[in-house]
């Protein structure tokens, strides 16, 4: 045993004047950010001076320093001498206007707002540059997982080609409950009762939440700009336990997977329920965790995972961004910013093995009919799976396809959907091995 060398007070950090900070929004994340700022000793460099929140008088808490100004008026924040505005109100309005106004008032901005940064990120980063301010958004994706700094700084030397991940904890909770035997509606109700899912769960289960995060990951990791509405989103609503049974037969499970890939100057991008190998790190993601895989031309695959949501993990990302601004005050660049390249085309037409689940009224000749349609569309069948003991009157069975473009399968499905033996719309999912 020995005493290690002390290194206290050797850096220049402590000599810098404190950077004044305004929190705009004081919900779960705002409260956690304030607590974290007070909990970290040796952070004299960050000084909370304003909290802007509706019904400010009612929201006041006694553990915040007396000198902090509570206000409902964003103008008061913008007129003040704060250097950084932390936007934590979420949504597009009034967040978009307030962030613009803050940058134009020569204040840097830290935001956790994924919808804002997915839709208006490019424009707001340009506005920040013009005003020589920083716009940091590490908290907008993956909560406490340091994914944006990892892609932008730690892997800056690589050329990233693929990003793939589980970006929505609510969906992950729901799919794991369906895997355990629950029906979709029941799993959703459980998620709502457990506080995972919103009363209106559309954003989560139909993929819009993950899509916003994916758009941001594509900007930072693949250096490409894509609009949210150009990203295919497919819901997890149609999943049922039988799909997990068949997936397990294929040594896979099912997850809501967000992925993007640069290939031949084209950007492929989608959020959809997907079969993943049970040996993939994607299959091991539990509950509300998030996990992101990046694949670089030189460094190969890197994996990042951790708590993807929640007040404290998100607050860590916000405070890390604040510290970045303090540490690198004179850099012209916002964290996670580099010139973006333009993919020639954006598409969701990944070429992968595919899973088709059909529910039919069983009768002779159905498989021959399906095989004939698939063959006409130049699609090769890999296997046909049919669990024993299924109801012949409403028989769910599965056809897996050799690597095929989604568009090609959809063309065949358009024809298959006309068949009278079908009892439900077919469910198609890509298979990632």
């Amino acid at each position: 045993m020995s005493s290690p060398t002390s290194q206290v007070d050797k850096s220049g950090l402590d000599q810098q004047p404190a950077v004044k900070i305004a929190l705009v929004g004081f919900g779960t994340v705002g409260t956690a950010v304030a607590r974290l700022l007070y909990a970290r000793p040796g952070q004299p460099s960050l000084k909370l001076t304003h909290i802007c929140v509706r019904a400010a008088e009612r929201k006041k808490v006694n553990w915040v320093a007396d000198r902090v100004c509570w206000t409902e008026d964003i103008e008061e924040v913008l007129r003040s001498d704060v250097a950084v505005v932390v936007e934590l109100i979420g949504g597009l309005h009034p967040a978009y206007d307030w962030v613009r106004q803050a940058l134009e008032a020569r204040k840097s901005v830290v935001t956790a707002n994924k919808q804002l940064m997915a839709r208006h990120g490019s424009e707001l980063l340009e506005l920040a540059r013009r005003n020589r301010q920083k716009l940091a958004y590490g908290a907008s994706v993956g909560g406490g997982i340091p994914i944006l700094s990892g892609l932008a700084e730690g892997l800056a030397g690589d050329r990233l080609l693929k990003i793939c991940g589980i970006l929505n904890g609510t969906c992950n909770y729901i799919v794991t409950r369906i895997e355990a035997g629950a029906a979709f509606a029941e799993a959703l109700r459980e998620a709502q009762q457990a506080g995972f899912a919103e009363a209106d769960p559309t954003d989560d289960i139909d993929g819009f939440d993950a899509r916003a995060k994916l758009v941001i990951l594509v900007r930072v990791g693949l250096k490409a700009e894509v609009l949210p509405e150009d990203v295919l989103c497919r819901s997890i609503r149609d999943l049922s336990s039988i799909d997990f049974e068949y997936a397990h037969e294929l040594d896979c499970t099912i997850r809501q997977v967000s992925r993007a890939e640069l290939r031949d100057g084209k950007l492929l991008v989608a959020v959809e329920p997907t079969l993943v190998s049970r040996r993939s790190p994607l299959a091991a993601v539990a509950g509300g965790e998030n996990l992101i895989l990046s694949h670089g031309e030189f460094g190969g695959q890197s994996v990042f995972s951790g708590l993807g949501a929640g007040g404290n993990p998100t607050a860590v990302a916000v405070v890390s961004d604040l510290l970045h601004i303090v540490r690198y005050p004179s850099s012209g660049l916002s964290p996670a910013e580099e010139p973006a390249v333009t993919p020639g085309e954006v598409s969701s037409d990944f070429e992968t093995p595919q899973y088709l689940r059909l529910v039919v009224k069983d009768s002779p000749g159905i498989l021959a009919r399906l095989a004939s349609i698939l063959s006409k569309h130049h699609i090769n069948i890999d296997a046909v799976l049919q669990s024993a003991g299924q109801d012949k009157a409403a028989l769910p069975f599965v056809i897996t396809l050799e690597p095929t473009k989604s568009s090609q399968v959809e063309a065949a499905l358009a024809e298959i959907r006309k068949s009278s033996f079908l009892l439900e719309a077919p469910l198609r999912m890509p298979i990632l091995r």
Copy 2:
């Protein structure tokens, strides 16, 4: 399908004059760094001007620009106008002197040298500060895994309490071969034939390589300075297949685990073979991969994994550090630098459940004798495991202990070692669940 917005050329990066770079060392990593610098279009900001290597004339390659100066003389590099020296010769000498001289000549340094940064990092960082230069060492731990930037930047806002990981791919290869049934010597030979292990494998299998990386992770993540020789290293040499059989019975496997923890102002730190739950991410690490878990007070657990070694992944880390220096030229801080706190004490005395494997000449009363010694040392037995069909003349069996400090178990083992029924020195390993 639509064309995404272009963002090319909007940042200030391209307007900066190119930063001149010297590579010192042109082995696997040096070659990969040079190739990566040439392979990345849109990197006019980094300009290779010198390559310093022994027998420079013989090492010349035709894909490096003609204007690059090949030299055997470090003095020529130090006298030149290069802004950054990339040290890739490894080892302490002459790397230590050359890095010092480069910093004193007002050049920033990027290094992949873990032994140098573990032993002299604190002093060299101070020297860099005094000379207003950067000293970046992201490539010294975890190859292409952006772990140091993740801890220093992405998780800067958290207070990290624990770091734990698999930091040596050679050991990981060897233990997975022993798990598959090979004897230690055979597994080592295979690792050497596969190019994983050095002719002298001591650094890897006795833990010194992982220890250097752990010392650096402790500095960057836990903000604490510890000397390599103050970190307990225990070899994987004594592992045998029977240990994996017993580990599997405990729903565990065995890995060389490096871990550090701040607790009550004390730093606990060790590199040793360890039982880990088969459900832990540590158990899933394959071949030459590395994986690091960090645990923060606010953000909870984050996981980073990827290729822990190799020319290209390490080159990605080197180039990422170079880009960091280019992006943040005027910051007073090196990447991954913050004031370190001093733990009151450094120890390896973790309190965990423990695994004891004993090989005895079976006779009545042995277990009673062992139980009596353990009880005298206030150690509670959790379970006794004895596989069927073992040789009674040299019987390997296992005692697991409830959470106990290593020092307490070692005291009991000192007494147990005197017993005449013991045929081999007992093997003790901590159990991480």
